[in-house]
Symmetry: C2
Subunit: 207 residues, 2 copies
DNA sequence: CTATGTGAATTTATTCACAGCA
DNA sequence: TGCTGTGAATAAATTCACATAG
C-alpha cells in the first residue's frame, strides 16, 4: 500500500482527523483507537485505518494510536509544519469574519496580512493586522507568503487571483462564487457558502 | 439511465451549474452548449451531459440547452422551488457575514430569522432582520422554517443542533468546527473554513 | 485477546466513444 | 453537421474480512 498514490478524499479527511485528535488531546487523552476516533468524528473506523495506511504504520496493534505522534505525522503530511502564513484579500463582511476566525490556530495557521482597496479601510487595524492597499500585493513575494484567501466581490475575483499569482502565491482559498482561472501549478479551493446551503433542500423530504 | 439512483457527486455539482447558468443568462445568453458551460465553469462537457442525463433529456441535439428551461429544471431537482427560508443561529463575526452574504439570492434563498443569546444583540436589526433570543427557537415550527445555519462557538454547537431538531428543522448548515449528532432524518452539511485552508499546503511543492 | 494494517471484493464515479436526433 | 444522451470501459473510493503484531 505504501507506494500507491494517496486518494484525494483521504487528504480531504486528514484535517478532520486532526481536529478530532487535537480535541481529544485537550480532553486529556494520550492515545486513541480508530474506533473511538471514528465515533467521535461520525466516521468509520476502517476508513480511518485505511487512510493512515497510505502513509505507513502509525498505530500499535492492541493499543491504538499515540495522539501526540499521530498529530505530528498528520501535520507533516499536510505540510502544515512548513507553510503557516496566509494573506487575506478583501476585508468586507466575510473577510472580517475570516480575520477573526479562531479556528486557524489548531492548524498552526495565521492570517499574516490583509488587503483591501477601500481607502477608508486601509491603515485600519483589525485583529492586530493592519489593512494594506491591494496595490501592495506584490510585497507578498518578499514576505514569503505563498497562500492567500480571496474574499472580494465576484467581479474582482479573477483580477485578484491574477495579481496573487504574479506575487508568487501558490495556493488560493476562494470565497467568491465563481470559477477562477490560474496556472496549473497553483492550487485553488473554492468555497461558496450559498452553494452548500443550496443542496440541503434536496435531501429533505417535502411530504 | 432514468431509473438509476442519482450520484451524490452529481447533486453536489448542480448548484455549480446553476450558478453558471444564471450568470450566462445575465450576460444575455438564451441557450448554451455543454461545452461552453464546461469551459465557463472549469469542468468537463461530458460530465455535465452525464449529470443531466440522470434526470432525463433537457437539451436539443445540435443546439444545446435552453437556459431558462434548464434553470427551472435544476431548481426543481434541488427542491429550491419549495424550501426557501433559513434561520441563522449565532450572530457573531461569521454569522453577521452570512446575514450580509449576497449570494443566497440566486438560489431563491433568504435568511428569514436570526437568533443569538447575547442580550446586547437581541432586538438589534441587521440587514432588516431583527435578532431574537435563542430561547425562541421553538417558534420556527410555526413559522415553517425547516432549514438552519449554525454559526455559534464549538462548545454550543451540539446544544444548538438539539434545539433546532426539536423545533422541527430538517436541514442544517453547520459552520462550527465539530461533528454534530442528529437523528438520521435530519441532514447536516458541515463547513469548516479552516479545514479547507489546512489542506491547501499539501498540494503545494515546497522546493 | 484487542486493535492495527491491508489485500481483495464491492460499490461508486469518471471518462470515453459513438449512435441518433434536430 | 453539431451537439446531445447514454451504454460500456475505466478509474477511484469504500467496505469487508482477516492475518498479524503487541
Amino acid at each position: 500500500m505504501r507506494y500507491h498514490k494517496i486518494p484525494d478524499e483521504t487528504i480531504r479527511r486528514l484535517p478532520v482527523y486532526l481536529r478530532g485528535l487535537l480535541f481529544l488531546s485537550e480532553e486529556g487523552y494520550k492515545s486513541v483507537s480508530s474506533q473511538k476516533l471514528a465515533d467521535f468524528l461520525g466516521l468509520n473506523a476502517w476508513q480511518i485505518r485505511k487512510d493512515f495506511s497510505y502513509f505507513g504504520a502509525f498505530g500499535t496493534p492492541g493499543v491504538g494510536y499515540k495522539i501526540d505522534k499521530l498529530v505530528k505525522q498528520v501535520k507533516k503530511i499536510l505540510k502544515l509544519d512548513v507553510l503557516k502564513k496566509a494573506a487575506l484579500v478583501g476585508v468586507g463582511n466575510l473577510g472580517s469574519a475570516v480575520l477573526a476566525y479562531p479556528g486557524f490556530g489548531i492548524y498552526d495557521f495565521r492570517v499574516a496580512a490583509a488587503f483591501d482597496n477601500d481607502p477608508k479601510k486601509i491603515g485600519r487595524k483589525i485583529e492586530n493586522i493592519t489593512i494594506e492597499d491591494t496595490s501592495k500585493l506584490q510585497t507578498l513575494k518578499k514576505r514569503k507568503i505563498s497562500l492567500a484567501i480571496i474574499a472580494v466581490p465576484r467581479d474582482s475575483a479573477q483580477k485578484t487571483a491574477d495579481a496573487l499569482v504574479k506575487a508568487g502565491v501558490k495556493g488560493i482559498l476562494n470565497f467568491s462564487p465563481c470559477h477562477i482561472t490560474v496556472p496549473k501549478k497553483v492550487k485553488v479551493i473554492t468555497i461558496d457558502i450559498a452553494m452548500d446551503l443550496a443542496r440541503l433542500p434536496y435531501y429533505i423530504p417535502t411530504r
